[in-house]
């Protein structure tokens, strides 16, 4: 082969390699785009909710109040009769079957929404007021265009009679959409239109805080000791190998550990962020220790020598120079470890966080859900409303992960100092 041929061959090889790289990168980008597009197209509608405007007659005689009307007496009052009477007026019904169908246009919480409106506006008593009431999941999906209307009636969840009412209401401009604050303020529910991620958000928040409090100091101390102070011998080698092994242990094993030790032996409260946080911090510890040690190792030995040579003790050298220089890597390692913990599902299922919890937890020892488990729970539900809720939750979870990773990158760039 002549020199020129070899040269051409070399150029061709380089070109080929670049092309392979380009193809793999574009494949990755395409898949990410498909994923994001899929989630957004399914989930974006979850951020709005369909409301039906109803003229409510706040007839005090229907409330059967003994005491004078004030906020407290209203809170105890039974609004069911009042609510049903007003709702049934939106369309004529000829029998009780049709009346039931009318009521099913609304979310089961209509009674409380009507009550809450009066509690907020007590001066409306004995008046007829337009009140916006959350529509049922079926009407919500119909309004969002997710239900095909041209199917035969027996294959539809909305009857012809209900469709007529809906069309009538649309004509009268009684149906409108508003921002779905329930998605963020409510806990889980059997009714998709009333279900929110408020509970799982708080659960995830408490879990991550506990995980951070437990794993960050332990991981930092362990990595500083192992990297800077521990003698290099068989025992530390053994510990190092084990830390690396623990980082590779499937997360569900940590769930079993939490179930076996924390719940069975120590009898911690089941399905709580406390147990979840402890379990996840066990999982996160090795995953934080490894990047922490790597960033300590990356501090050049010349800095250590410089400090030692002016008479700094080992302790001073480590804490005045090495640790501050390693901080950016340490912090971003910690945040990425926590981000992994935030998205972890399997161990939480084992420690009972998969339970159906309606209440929003107010402390780490209250039963609670968490974001990834909420995704898992809702993805199993049949209702169309939960499909968009699932995607919306995934969007929130991805949002948090992206924010955490950005913080990690930002911290690394902000505090990174150049040396030699």
């Amino acid at each position: 082969m002549t020199k020129e041929q070899r040269l051409k061959k070399r150029y061709r090889a380089e070109k080929r390699f670049k092309m392979y790289g380009l193809i793999s990168v574009s494949l990755a980008v395409i898949f990410v785009l498909i994923l994001v597009q899929n989630i957004f197209s399914k989930g974006s509608s979850a951020f709005s909710r369909t409301m039906i405007e109803v003229e409510v007659n706040y007839d005090s005689s229907l409330l059967e109040l003994d005491s004078p009307i004030n906020q407290n007496s209203l809170k105890d009052a039974d609004f069911y009769d009042l609510a049903v009477e007003s709702l049934l007026k939106i369309y004529p019904a000829k029998d009780s079957k049709e009346e039931r169908q009318i009521l099913r246009l609304f979310s089961p919480d209509y009674e409380f929404e009507i009550k809450d409106f009066l509690i907020k506006n007590p001066n409306k008593i004995d008046q007829v007021v337009p009140v916006k009431i959350t529509a049922s999941d079926d009407i919500d999906q119909l309004n969002k265009g997710n239900f095909p209307r041209d199917l035969p009636e027996d294959r539809r969840r909305v009857s012809n009679y209900q469709l007529n009412i809906y069309d009538n209401l649309v004509e009268k401009e009684k149906i409108n959409k508003k921002f779905n604050n329930y998605l963020f303020t409510k806990g889980d529910s059997r009714d998709p239109e009333l279900a929110g991620i408020g509970g799982s958000l708080m659960g995830s928040f408490f879990t991550i805080i506990i995980c951070l409090i437990l794993s960050f100091p332990i991981a930092i101390m362990a990595s500083i000791y192992l990297e800077e102070f521990a003698p290099k011998n068989k025992i530390t080698d053994f510990i190092e190998i084990n830390i690396n092994n623990l980082a590779a242990v499937p997360s569900i094993v940590y769930g079993l550990l939490g179930l076996g030790i924390l719940l069975s032996v120590m009898e911690f409260p089941r399905s709580t962020p406390l147990v979840a946080g402890i379990t996840l911090s066990l999982m996160t510890l090795p995953r934080i220790i490894i990047p922490c040690r790597a960033s300590l190792k990356a501090v050049p030995p010349s800095i250590r020598e410089a400090a030692l040579s002016v008479g700094a003790s080992k302790f001073q050298t480590v804490f005045h120079h090495v640790v501050p220089l390693a901080m950016p890597g340490t912090l971003s390692g910690t945040i990425i470890g926590l981000a992994q913990a935030l998205g972890e599902t399997a161990p939480l299922i084992l420690i009972g966080m998969v339970a159906f919890v309606v209440d929003i937890p107010s402390s780490p020892v209250d039963p609670s859900a968490s974001l990834p488990v909420q995704v898992y729970l809702w993805s199993e539900q049949a209702e169309r409303g939960f499909v968009e809720k699932t995607s919306a939750t995934i969007m929130m979870l991805l949002g948090f992960l992206i924010v955490m990773n950005f913080i990690a990158v930002y911290l690394r760039q902000k505090f990174e100092k150049k040396w030699n």
């Binding site: 010349s302 800095i303 040579s309 005045h320």
Partner: protein
Amino acid sequence: MELNNSKIKIKAKNLNVFYGKKQALFDINLDINQKEVTALIGPSGCGKSTFIRCINRMNDVIDICKVEGSVEIDGAEINEKNVDVVTLREKVGMVFQKPNPFPKSIYDNIAYGPIIHGAAENKDQMDNIVETSLKKAALWDEVKDRLNEPGTSLSGGQQQRLCIARALSVNPEVILMDEPCSALDPIATAKIEELIDDLKKSYTIVIVTHSMAQAVRVSQKTGFFHLGKIIEVDSTEKIFKNPANKMTQDYITGRFG
């Protein structure tokens, strides 16, 4: 030896150093005179650096390194367990092959040593220490207007003088220099050599160098190391003009190494 009118500052007796199973230094006996520059020359890997790292016990930080024998400074043994290395290193400063300023401001680079030793009581005293150290290292005029800039923003030669100033800031008696000019250009080297010449009035200096011209220029006494053994020690003039040992002769004339 000719230079017996000088007082001996550092005395190494039967010094053996091991890295794991490998022996790096064999029975080193070397006297280093006070307020004089002693140059250590020899081919790479001959143990010069290992030797000077014994003088401030920097070898302690290497786990596998074991030092046997004795090093005395002013007649006091430093290789004993109860000797505090922090106090020792306050007395014996060191400048390294590659300039290694802390990634902090020029001021903080100098102030760090005095801070940990509690040498200054207030800001004025600290300013004073920083100024005198930088002046001694002939760097003051170049950096006095930018003391808050990072030390790493200086040029290589300036960084090395900053490191010398840092070593001077804790008032040492001995300064060890491990090839301080090997990463510098000739002009910066000339400045450092000039500085060394100046510093020997007040400090005992031990310098490891690969440049025989440098040894001739800055030192009064030269030791030739080869394969972990000290081959010949004498006045610099004698070593370079009329060495007693054939191997020294071969090395300085460039036949090996």
